[in-house]
Every structure is written in structure tokens, then in C-alpha cells.
Symmetry: C2
Subunit: 405 residues, 2 copies
Amino acid sequence: MALIVLKFGGTSVGNVDRIKRVAELVTKARGTGEEVVVVLSAMSGETDRLLKLAHEVADCPDEREMDMLLSTGERVTIALLAMALRGMGLSARSYTGRQVGIMTDSTHTKARIERIAADRIREALDDGIIPIVAGFQGINEHNDVTTLGRGGSDLTAVALAAALKADQCLIYTDVDGVYTADPNIVPAAKKLDKVSYEEMLELASLGAKVLQSRSVEFAANYGVPVTVKSTFVDGTGTLVTKEDRDMEQVMVSGVTGDRNQAKITFIGVPDHPGIASRIFGPIGAANILVDMIIQNVGQGDLTDLSFTIPRGDVHKAVDLANRIAKDIGAKSVELKDKIAKVSLVGVGMRSHSGVAARMFETLARKGINIMMISTSEIKISCVIEEQHLEPAIRSLHEAFELGRA
Amino acid sequence: MALIVLKFGGTSVGNVDRIKRVAELVTKARGTGEEVVVVLSAMSGETDRLLKLAHEVADCPDEREMDMLLSTGERVTIALLAMALRGMGLSARSYTGRQVGIMTDSTHTKARIERIAADRIREALDDGIIPIVAGFQGINEHNDVTTLGRGGSDLTAVALAAALKADQCLIYTDVDGVYTADPNIVPAAKKLDKVSYEEMLELASLGAKVLQSRSVEFAANYGVPVTVKSTFVDGTGTLVTKEDRDMEQVMVSGVTGDRNQAKITFIGVPDHPGIASRIFGPIGAANILVDMIIQNVGQGDLTDLSFTIPRGDVHKAVDLANRIAKDIGAKSVELKDKIAKVSLVGVGMRSHSGVAARMFETLARKGINIMMISTSEIKISCVIEEQHLEPAIRSLHEAFELGRA
């Protein structure tokens, strides 16, 4: 008997009618004779409601308490789905992260899973019970509740699938799969039947919000086949799996954009060894994630140095950068926050040259200036003005013929 | 250093401003040099909101799942209060029923506390931390969340005070103490400075909604001094404590009314031994709580038999009664649901006769018909038409001079 893990996101359990729809999907999966484990997110909007309350009672809410607060959302949905299933005559039971034995470290609000016991899940399955598991949460060595960060329910589902050696992990969401580009920007975008873990990881971390990137990493490490599909529309979805021969034929799988970008530039930095570490040491210590870095060719003994960060960290980063500038004797600090990143992803880039050239040419022909470039084996990203993001995505999608059947 | 347990009800934590008000009260209590443990209810309205969701997804929601659902409300308030206190520079930390070690039986939705470990609370106190504890919830031997029934946060507070051998348990609520009658009905009602556990127990179970009756029982058993006072208005409140000489002088402490009453009558019941058990056996087995019972003097070999039950059980009880009537050969079953119970309570009744007579006389003079009577050592209750309840309370309050200084 095959074992599958089904995960439903916040919009899929956003109200009573949708919870009933999920109950039907679970019943159907069960009806095909499979063993089923369900993982749920909180109702859409609930996490934001709780966050708002937290910021109303305290300027800088304590993170342990934040986890106590936020972990209630999933407990509500798992109880409601278990009730709905039992009301339909099925044997179902809800389990919190603690009850499932999801042990994490103590990094509150973005804890990492250390191990999953899952004894109660196995017992439930042996007893013919459908376990309904709270996503996004675990417990640390002090017996305190932790949460896994935004999108953490995907991680719960994939990690549970790995722990249970499940045959499949199905991620039900409000889109019907992974596309060659955001269909809201590129109407001709085509759904992909299959992507590799590596591509999905680049897509996830580059801003395609279909799967949380840590869950993709986890799936890759443990070889869990993950399928992304729609709760609301029937379809086969997109399978995220190991790279195979078939995939290698595809040079570019998708084009993606990310507006969550800001650029900070140090102007007139004394150009001598050790300067970079005096800049990026304190920034790393402040937990600001630096993405791209470029250093201009020095003119005389001064140079300029730019790097990109998530937009949410701008205030913290600018304050810090001004202090660093004083410290290292840089002339000034400049902020540019209306930038975006456009990226091409595809495992085929490994064996095909010319992708970068065609990308630069396409953007140039549209009159789009490239500020920064970064590449990996299966990805090329360019930082551009934010206003050019959508035209850039559309023209690249067309240039690489991603919409073809 | 004295140790006090402070409990705040749902209206006291009903919104962000009120939670901040509670944070101030906690800070003030702490400022007087006392060790403080706080117990909270869910925000007012939250439990009803969750109950509504449950009844929308299932006709008869599973009780284990109900506890998973309802126990989220207190987790939200404890996290928010802990954040608020930490924002004010105090060291505070939230704890769930499980983390406090509140072990209960497995009667979901109305579990009984079996023991309290409270190790983490003692550790927190030793570390100078203010523990903020989720009321209303515990955990059973299967590691599943249980809840203690409506008003269960009072019980958590009193039980925790007993386990910690606290010097005092303060129940903060939206009224400033226990009154001789409901001030909404009797404007001349007087706040009592002190009542005995026994009186409070009668008052609580008779419908005065100031304290949950099981919490009063618990306080009496463990000799926990409980003070009921207002979150919103300064004042000394009402102390609930052991009976003392002083109290014995008071014949009647209060008059209380309860509309949650319905009466079922079996007409034409064959009057022979064993009939009562054939009626009340099945009713007890259906978990319907029978309060008063009267049996008319038999005419020939038939008799009538009436009993009162909570109004919420009427449908279940009538269905059952009709089946029983058929079974025992009774003529018919009659329901009367517009009835109420008016009661006088006072430890002084033990040593004073004549209270009953004056009560009946007072009601008679008002033209109020008494349908049923029940008495205990410190209480007399009469079942009357519901429409007569308020006049009955007012005239008894006056007749026993309860409003005098």
C-alpha cells in the first residue's frame, strides 16, 4: 500500500467551505487505497492577524512568545479538518508538531528541524487513522514550541514524507503547478510537467513563491518526489524530482523575477586588502543576507563597492553601512531600492553555452540596463531597474521560446 | 516573600488595550515585592468564534478535536501578555497547560485535574521570571490536550495556587465582587466583603456567574483564599474563605436566580416500586443532570412525576422521556421550559429557623406560585415561572434586608 503525504496551504483551508473541499480530496485519496498523512497551514490571513496583535502589544515582540502565538493557527485548521473528516465517517485525528515529534533547534521563528520521531503517526496509520498534522511548527529541547519560518508547512510535509519514507509528497496550493514564468506577467507561460530539485531550488529562492526553498533542499537531500498541484482545479501538477536525461534537453526551464531587492553602494572606498571583510563581517553578523557583490575597477587608490540585500533589511543595513563607511574611511553610502532581479533557470545550461549572451542581447535590445550579474551552473541573474522587470520577463520568455508546446 | 496567583478573565484580555492594562496590574503586583503567577482566559468572544467554526464543519464535532481547537485561545493571550510585559522590561514567559504539567483525566471538553507538577513554574519563579499560564487546559496520559469546561480558567488558577501553596489567589473579572443579588436586577444590592466557600459554592452552582463552581470546591478542599475583584475598578473585592464566627451571624448572604431550567413531567405513571430507577437510570446514563425531583401523592395506582434539567438538554431529554414513557406505560410527557429557580443562600440558616417560612410568605404575598422546592443546610431554592424571577429576587432581597449597610 502506497503512503502519500498531502499538504494544503493557507488559501486551501481559508474558510469552512474550503476545509470541506480539502476533506473531499483527502477522502478521494484514501478511497484509492492509499495510506494518507495530511499536513496543514493556518487559514490564510490568520498569521498576519496574529502578527498585527503582537506588534500592537510590543514594539519588538519576543521571538519565543511569537512562536507560542503563531503556532495556534495550524492547531485550529487541523482540529477543524479532523472534525470534518470524522463527520464524514472517516477515522481522522489531529496532531501538533510536538505530538508528531518534530524536534528542532531553538532558533525561534526560523527553527531548523533536527529529527522527526513520528511514532504517533505510524501508530495512527497502523490503526487505520488518517493523521492530520500541524505544519510550520516543532518543539525544541526545552519543550518550547518553535516555528519553521514563512512557508514552513511545506518543510513539515517534505520532512515528514522523508521520515515516513512516503512514496509521494503532494503540495496542494492555489496554483496548478510550476510555470515557465509567472502567468500574471506572461500569459503565454506554460506549465512544466517536471522540474529537477536543483532548478526548483533556484526558482524557489529567486522569488517563484510556489514552494519554500528549504523544503526543496530537504526533498533533494532525501530524494522525496514532490508534486505541486491545485486544490481547486483537477490536473497533474508539476513533479519536482531528480534530474533525468529527458530534462537535460531543456536549456532553460523558466524565467523568474524578484522585487525583494535593494542595492547599497560604498563610494570611494580605500582599495587595499582586508577592506571587504571589514564591510561584510559586520553585515553578516547583523544577519543581513547579502546576495550579489560587485567591485568597480579601482581608479587610483579608491574604488566603489555595491551589494544587494532583501528590501526588508534596508533600514538596518543603511545604519550599519554608514557606521562602517566612517570606520573604513569611505566617502559615502548610496541606497537604491527600486531594483529587481530577473533570472533564467535550467539544468541544460550546464551543457549549453550562449545562454548568457542571448540573455544580455535580449535585454539590450529592449533598452534595459544591467546593473549587476551573477551566475551559477544552472542560473543567470541580472539586477535591473524595478520598472523594467515585467518587460524583461516577457521578452526573455519569448526569446527562449518557453511558451512553445 | 508572598506568592500570589492572579487570574484574568476573557473580558479583561478582550483587546490589545486591555492586555496592556493587565500588564500594568501585573507590574504593580510585582512592584510590591510579591512573587506573581498569572493565569489567563482566551479573549472574550474567541471561544464562541471557534465553536461556531466547529459546528460549521461538523454537525457533532469530535470532543478530542474540540479541545485541540479551543485550547488555542489561551495560547494567544498568554503569548501577547508575555510580549507586553517583556516590552515593559519585565522578565515574563508564557506556559501552556502541558508545560505547567497540568495532568487531567481524558474526559475531553470537561476534564478533571488529577495533579499539577508545576516544576517549570517553580524554576521560572526561582529565576525571577513571571510565569504567564494558559488557563482552561491540561494534558491527559496520551499527551493529548484537554480542556476543563466553561470557566475552567478559574479552576486552573485555584489549582495552581494550591499546588504552589500560594498565599492568595486573585480572580480579576468584570465585576468588583460577589453581591447580595445581581445589581442589574436589584440596584440596592450590596457587595459582600467575605463569603464562605460553602456559600460561594451554592451561589456559583445556582447561577451567580462570578466563579466557576468546581474552582470553589477546589479552593475549599485545599483552603486556598480566593479574592474576586475588578480588572477595571480599584477596590478590595470579595474574599472567599473558610467560614468564621463572624459569618455565622449572617442568616442570608444573598439571593440568586437561574433561568437555565426546564421541567419535564411524566403524567399517569404506574405507582409501584422500581419506577423511579427505570426513569432516572436512562436519563443519568445520557449525562443529563437532574436537579430537583417531585412525585405527586398517588391517586389510585397512578402518579405524576416531575424533574428539572438544564435547558440545553431539553431536546435530548424529551426524546428520551417519550421512549421511557412508552416503556413504563406512562400516559404522557409534558415539557415546561419557561421556568426559573430563585434561591436564598447563607451559612446562618444552619442555626436560624424560619428562613423558609419567610421566603414562601414573601413570594405568596407577591402572588408568585411555587412549583418545586429544594433545600440544603445553607440554601433554599424555589422553582417559579420565569416571568416572576426578577420580582421574586427583588422582593426577597428586601424582605431579608440584604441591602442594609
